[in-house]
Symmetry: C2
Subunit: 369 residues, 2 copies
């Protein structure tokens, strides 16, 4: 029986395991946190990413390694790769962890991005602002996620406090794109080179955290879907990528700009569990095992709503016809992703009314922007 080693044991690892047991796989997780929620679904090695002995022991217990956490140190992935296959390739991890490398890759592949410039010093910041203009966004090159490590610069007087807050580390200044909406494309590439693409997804963020995904994105014509797939295809190819890759996109004046990539299954793809013929989790596993990829067509129009900070009463959610509840088994904490609810409906109109019921359970006037 093939044993898949997963770096990180959060909810993504948990959903990978739920998709992988039916394929006859077993799972071993590696995480710094003994309470990580995938721990109930497989073995769990609790150790730090720099613990070479633990990494070596882990590599001896698994047939191949993947990751569900994109901040795994590249050195850890590379060490494992000397002993067992590691997918996606550590190179993808390296690029995805650094906004400058990521945006530079997109630029090299002729994929549109917001304008950007490197900022290492306070002086660099002035030059970058002169080049890119305001408003713009100052971000740490590494370790940022869910809106952390970012400052919006609107006027000259914002520069000093922003640099004081996040400077001293390598930074990047990105032009502020007044995008119409945020989209994402999720793609898979197998060890055999086979590729698959789910339909374009529309995403709504709130306070920097994904709140709602709708798939297929409304009003996305074939040309837009093809443009997104081409962006993903070029990126997969350039990285000799294996596994599921997510690319966050901005739609602006009819064009797609790549914002960032995640070299793993992605929150905006959770709807695929019920809303697509094959989920992102199953296809990630098929891809890294070199198995044929499953069909990525939809079973209807889907909406995925994140449960953030607190979880509603399960009975209230499950009373909604067709609502699929996914709890991650994590203790509640403000701003924490604790679960999600997926709705799949044959048509957009019925999806809207089901979404309104979810909004009411979550005590929110609306889930849209």
């Amino acid at each position: 029986m093939t044993v898949v080693g997963v770096l990180g044991a959060g909810q993504l690892g948990r959903m990978l395991a739920l998709a992988g047991y039916p394929l006859g796989l077993r799972f071993e997780f590696f995480d710094e946190n003994a309470e990580a929620p995938a721990g109930h679904l497989g073995g769990l090695t609790v150790a730090g990413w720099a613990d070479r002995a633990a990494l070596d022991a882990f590599s001896g217990a698994v047939d191949l390694v993947t990751y569900e956490f994109e901040n795994v140190p590249v050195a850890a992935a590379e060490r494992l790769a000397t002993r067992v296959p590691v997918f996606p390739p550590p190179k993808a991890l390296d690029v995805a962890q650094d906004r400058l490398k990521e945006k530079s890759l997109f630029r090299r592949l002729d994929i549109g991005t917001a304008p950007f410039a490197t900022v290492d010093t306070r002086v660099d910041l002035d030059s970058a602002v002169a080049e890119i203009g305001l408003p713009s966004v100052l971000k740490t090159r590494t370790q940022g996620y869910d809106g952390k490590g970012q400052r919006v610069l609107r006027r000259g007087e914002d520069l000093d406090p922003a640099f004081a807050a996040i400077g001293g580390r390598p930074l990047i200044l990105e032009g502020f794109v007044p995008f119409e909406r945020e989209l994402s494309i999720i793609a898979a590439r197998s060890r055999t080179g086979e590729t698959a693409y789910w339909p374009l997804i529309e995403n709504v963020h709130r306070d920097g955290i994904l709140r709602l995904s709708i798939a297929p994105a409304s009003g996305a014509d074939d040309a837009l879907a093809d443009e997104a797939a081409a962006i993903a295809a070029r990126t997969l190819e350039a990285l000799d990528y294996v596994g599921v890759l997510a690319i966050e996109l901005f739609q602006h004046e009819g064009r797609l700009l790549a914002n960032e990539m995640a070299p793993r299954v992605h929150n905006s793809g959770h709807w695929t569990i019920e809303g697509a013929k094959t989920s992102q989790f199953e296809n990630h596993l098929r891809a890294i095992l070199g198995l044929p990829l499953g069909a990525t067509g939809t079973t209807g129009v889907s909406a995925m709503v994140n449960l953030i900070g607190e979880t509603p009463d399960s009975a209230a959610v499950l009373a909604i016809d067709g609502a699929h509840l996914h709890l991650y088994g994590k203790p509640a904490r403000p701003g924490r992703k604790l679960g999600h609810v997926t709705l799949v409906e044959p048509e957009r109109a019925t999806l809207e009314s089901a979404l309104a019921r979810i909004a009411s359970i979550l005590h929110e006037p609306t889930l849209s922007r």
Copy 2:
């Protein structure tokens, strides 16, 4: 977090856990076999059913108990029920374990069955044959499943060897029904009394083991579906049942006869994982937790093919568009259920061609009767 105790840790327990983690549940299994395949998906107590200390410790580690194995001794379920809620009620287990009690319940509820008579002695067998006629089937009252403990009697000379083979235990003689086809109905009843019914399922057995299920059963009109649901409804009510119940039926001259019931999730309901809006596994858990039951409508026409004795190459199965592979993580052994494949198609015609591809992978001319 609610911890569900499951008696038995086979593939049914495994699929219960896969359905239950997204509901935020945890699982503890109890099985005599340390290699039981659900063991990777939760805690596993390895002990005999008569081990009272182990049962007591188990009850202390869980919030409620259910079972996935219908031959759990009733005494074990009753002992647990003095400490924690046990669903379905042990009474249902008691009835389902004894073909005489089972058929007597059906008769009391005005549900048609094959004619039957009790056989404890060789003399009883003569009287029973005189009453019911030949051909008929001599069966052990308890412990029979997948065609074990049964002898078909066609002529008078079959009686002695049949009694010699399985006599000495309480037996039942059942009239042989020249049924047109085998069907099953799967129903759920919640702690709140809410009920739900999946569409009628058509089943094909081979060598006493389920080979293929198709749902909805072809040509099943509303009247037949209503008759099956009424049979299930009366049984659920009579047993004050909580959980998923399966009833195997014979269709004979336009009528339905109840053959036997399983007080648990059932092999003929595995298609519901992808083929229904809510699976039998999820609704079993919702029922025993008193949560609202999920919708039981179909997502298409489904076929479930059991993988018996050996498993085909995963890549060959997964290359079939829309094929869902479910392996149980059990070592191969002749006659053993090792997994299943589910196909869901919008129409029967495309389902037939997908089934033909599965048959070819399994090196069988056809999967039908």
